[in-house]
């Protein structure tokens, strides 16, 4: 077991401000003094650095320091919350006093905060900000720029962004648990404009992981992203108007898994189901997708962007089966919603920062592989669409309606991939679309690590994935009748 993470968290968050165990006891006792069911304090130190290149020059660099502590008190379905960005005992006690004003129930008890349980980390506790020196970071930007410009003479504009973040968190709660995590996160993206005969199109590619910046040097990823962005932009130069109307669609592997994130993922978050506001509420054990569909949320994949050694409530992340052979098996839970529903947390309690309340959120959500070859799935379509890349999506969890936008797609005619089509939005109803999944490929892939999920104003990094799959009918929002 690894105590290095706990040591880093203590030395980053507690020792510089002279906080010792008795202070944490006092803080948690102070919150519990007015009788709450549960309380926790979330200490966080976040450092990030970003660099951007445009027009061939490294135009911007920004360094950000953010730290603080959020204190939460729960009584039944009620939550009180306050935070401070100045971690000192007095401020913490004042925040605790504000947070506990919610309480009117619960039992008096005395809490002793433990030493902390070490967890096996899913990523090395290294600081990606110092993993390369500034010169090397700039070299990385320039290599991506050169690769994009070298890929095709029609490239007129290249933007490259590089972000490294280092997040150290420590959470103590009224159950006496103390947990910590040290989370590196890096991301690189390239966007390009190409021009041909007065027509301009864009392309975008990128990736990221919970690791250091060497990741983008390894396997020449920086250059790969650049070439991929150019390839997409050039495809768009040839794109014809997308069709309009309901039709069969084959979705490619990897990032198109954003389908699952929207169609079923959000609807299976515990808070919506506890409150009965999700279209999936009360449907455990029911058929909600075709038998070919097994969907999981898995925060335990080493190094993935959506992975967490422990979630923001200190619960180790899990491999949670959401849908198995089409049957709804489980929800994603944080402590509060799990407790109110008589279930256990699945390690999905996440928050954007110490200044935000945790809630059930996805980690890496994907569909397991099936048995079909991708070629036979495409060949099975007489007329329809082959969608290989997407932008973002959105869902209304109450009606189940969801959308996601095509970035790269092709017409299929007589089982053959034809002309590329322009971007368009796809819209469907989550449970209906999942029931119409009629073929699932054997080529499961996860995305390249660029996903950000927004919920109630909070953004967190997530991953998605799926094999090639066929949906018998979904509405495509093109302009061609």
């Amino acid at each position: 077991m690894d105590t290095q993470v706990l040591d880093i968290a203590r030395s980053t968050l507690l020792e510089p401000v002279g906080l010792a165990r008795e202070h944490l006891n006092r803080l948690i006792d102070g919150v519990l003094g007015s009788q709450v069911d549960f309380a926790d304090a979330y200490f966080e130190s976040a450092r990030s650095e970003s660099w951007s290149l445009e027009d061939g020059i490294v135009r911007e660099g920004n360094y950000n320091i953010d730290q603080g502590c959020g204190i939460r008190a729960i009584s039944g379905e009620k939550t009180g919350f306050a935070y401070t960005d100045d971690i000192h005992l007095e401020n913490l006690l004042e925040a605790a006093h504000s947070a506990r004003a919610i309480a009117s129930l619960g039992q008096d008890r005395q809490i002793r905060v433990g030493d902390g349980t070490p967890n096996t980390p899913l990523y090395a506790p290294s600081n990606p900000l110092v993993s390369l020196d500034a010169g090397q970071k700039i070299d990385l930007l320039k290599r991506a720029d050169a690769a994009a410009r070298g890929a095709d003479p029609r490239v007129t504009q290249v933007n490259v962004n590089l972000v490294a973040a280092y997040d150290v968190v420590l959470v103590v709660n009224s159950e006496g648990q103390l947990s910590a995590d040290v989370r590196p996160l890096v991301r690189m993206s390239v966007s390009v404009i190409v021009e041909q005969n007065g027509r301009r199109e864009q392309g975008y590619a990128g990736g990221g992981a919970r690791t250091t910046l060497d990741y983008f040097i390894d396997e020449s990823r920086a250059e790969q992203y650049a070439r991929e962005a150019v390839r997409q932009a050039l495809v768009n130069l040839e794109a014809v108007d997308a069709p309009a109307g309901a039709m069969p669609v084959v979705l490619g592997p990897g990032w198109p898994g954003v389908l699952l994130h929207e169609a079923v993922g959000h609807g299976l978050e515990g808070d919506f189901n506890r409150k009965g506001t999700s279209v999936f509420a009360g449907r455990l054990g029911e058929q909600v997708a075709s038998k070919l569909c097994t969907v999981v949320d898995d925060g335990t994949l080493p190094g993935r962007r959506g992975s967490l050694s422990v979630d923001d409530e200190g619960t180790p992340s899990e491999h949670t089966v959401l849908i198995e052979n089409g049957i709804l098996k489980g929800y994603m839970q944080d402590k509060m919603n799990a407790g109110l529903m008589g279930q256990a947390s699945t390690g999905n309690g996440r928050r954007e920062s110490y200044a935000h309340l945790p809630m059930p959120r996805m980690t890496n959500t994907y569909m397991l592989a099936g048995e079909c070859k991708p070629e036979e799935i495409i060949a099975s379509l007489e007329k329809g669409l082959y969608a290989v890349n997407f932008g973002g999506g959105q869902v209304d969890i109450t009606s189940g309606k969801f959308v996601f936008s095509l970035n790269e797609a092709y017409l299929i005619e007589n089982g053959k991939v034809g002309a590329p089509v322009k971007g368009a939005t796809l819209i469907g109803n989550g449970p209906e679309v999942m029931t119409r999944v009629s073929m699932v490929g054997d080529d499961l892939a996860l995305d390249s690590g660029i996903g950000v999920c927004g919920k109630e104003g909070q953004s967190v990094p997530v991953g998605v994935g799926q094999p090639t799959l066929k949906v018998d009918e979904i509405t495509v929002g093109g302009t061609a009748a």
Partner: protein, 451 residues
């Protein structure tokens, strides 16, 4: 049950933060920077949510943020922090200076020109605290939600009603000697409920927001509107795929106006990433269209006397007689394009399109006769480079100027360039809640995809 977290008049913080900025610029100069600028925001407040008749959450907020940019000749570095202690400020300046050693020499980088700095600071009357303690706020949120739940028996569940009230100060200073700041308030009330009939479950919401608490809609009205919107959506139909005129209801038509501004932003132009790249001086909208900003309106959401570079803001037209008048520029984009900044660092302020008719929504429906009234848009689906537009939608099918039935699971698609040119009318049913305000838009000839 609880008292207000003690937020002494946040304007008292303004003098302290002015010193923070002065110290910061002095520190940057002492570390060798030839120029420096800094902005600070501080806000405090709380939000409460009531659900099913009881308080659900109480959140106390106190956010501070400081950002600094330093210039060594034409090389720029930036850093930001949430920690406003003297030690953190010094570290932040050092971090910015370290970055500036590695960014490229860029002749366009630098402060906005000294002679453009705002010199007079009119009082825009933006500070109107809400004397409401948390218990009162909870009571009002409960009242708002109750109005929604009592509105119709088909309202069967709730996501709650929330009240949020915040006060803040914003300051900016630079090494030209400019130092400005102002205090403002922002209050909002929102309610979201769920209606059910048969298998159909629909959620909708309503909110009111203003700098002045007395100008918020009443709790009852907000709750009832949220309920009415949810109930009206029940048992929606799909449409067959067709071409038809559409009306974008005022609250979502603001997104079209923002897409227009996005397309004339300086960065989109010098990066050749806009479908309006070649549109300067040409018609973009019908000849009656007038789109403008008025940053110095008292009490308005977007008001400010200076922009994020200290440049004096001014009322100006972006579209006059349908023709594109100017880009939206900060000093960097302006230099890239060989132009002068338009005082839009940080965006446009109080953006408006004038109504083209005296008709409210009902009148627009009559003008449209048959078509789609869109009340909700979903997803991103807007390509800023080509103007291609395709978004998920929900709303109502209209015939003979009358709403017939709710529709859902459809998309609307077109190209923004055509949609702007085909703008048939802008109603006078103006949504006045935000910094961007418009009435409903009637747009001819959109493709609707459905069954």
């Amino acid at each position: 049950m609880s008292e207000i977290i003690q937020v002494s008049d946040i304007r008292d913080e303004q003098a302290r933060l002015e010193n923070v900025i002065s110290d910061l610029i002095a520190e940057a100069r002492s570390q060798g920077a030839s120029a420096a600028e800094a902005g600070v925001n501080l806000s405090a407040g709380y939000s409460v949510t009531a659900r099913l008749g009881e308080v659900e959450t109480i959140e106390h907020d106190r956010d501070g943020g400081l950002g600094v940019s330093v210039y060594f000749g034409h090389s720029k570095g930036s850093a930001s922090t949430s920690d406003l202690s003297p030690e953190a400020i010094r570290d932040t300046v050092t971090a910015a200076c370290n970055i500036a050693r590695f960014t490229s020499k860029d002749k366009c980088a630098g402060l906005a020109d000294a002679d453009l700095m705002a010199t007079e600071m009119p009082d825009l009357d933006l500070y109107h605290p809400w004397r409401l303690d948390i218990d009162e706020a909870i009571g009002q949120a409960i009242e708002c939600e109750a109005a929604a739940r009592d509105f119709d028996s088909r309202v069967i569940n709730s996501e709650g009603a929330s009240i949020s009230t915040h006060r803040g100060v914003t300051l900016y200073g630079n090494s030209h000697g400019f130092l400005g700041g102002y205090a403002g308030t922002r209050h909002s009330v929102s309610c979201s409920v769920i209606a059910q009939q048969g298998d159909s479950m629909e959620r909708d919401y309503w909110y009111s927001a203003n700098r002045v608490p007395e100008k918020l809609e009443s709790m009852t009205d907000i709750g009832r509107k949220a309920a009415e919107r949810s109930v009206n959506r029940l048992q929606p139909r799909k449409l067959s795929t067709r071409q038809a005129p559409v009306i974008f209801q005022a609250d979502i038509a603001t997104s079209l106006l923002r897409s227009f501004i996005g397309a004339i932003r300086g960065a989109a132009i010098y990066r050749e990433s806009s479908f309006l790249l070649d549109a300067m001086g040409k018609p973009v909208f019908p000849d009656w269209a007038h789109i403008h900003e008025n940053p110095r309106l008292p009490r308005e959401a977007g008001s400010a006397a200076f922009d994020n570079e200290g440049v004096a803001t001014r009322a100006q037209d972006f579209i006059r007689d349908g023709v594109l008048q100017r880009w939206v520029l900060d000093s960097y984009a302006a230099r890239k394009l060989g132009l002068q900044t338009t005082g839009n660092a940080g965006g446009v302020r109080n953006l408006r399109i004038d109504a083209s008719t005296g008709h409210e929504l009902a009148g627009l429906l009559e003008m449209m006769d048959s078509g789609l009234l869109i009340t909700e848009l979903m997803g991103q689906g807007v390509n800023p480079v080509t103007g291609d537009y395709s978004r998920g939608a929900a709303g109502y099918w209209v015939e003979h100027g009358e709403i017939q039935y709710p529709v859902c699971e459809i998309t609307v698609a077109g190209n923004l360039r055509d949609m702007f040119m085909n703008l048939g009318a802008v109603g006078c049913d103006i949504d006045r809640r935000g910094g961007t305000q418009t009435g409903s838009w009637l747009v001819d000839g959109m493709m609707i995809a459905g069954e």
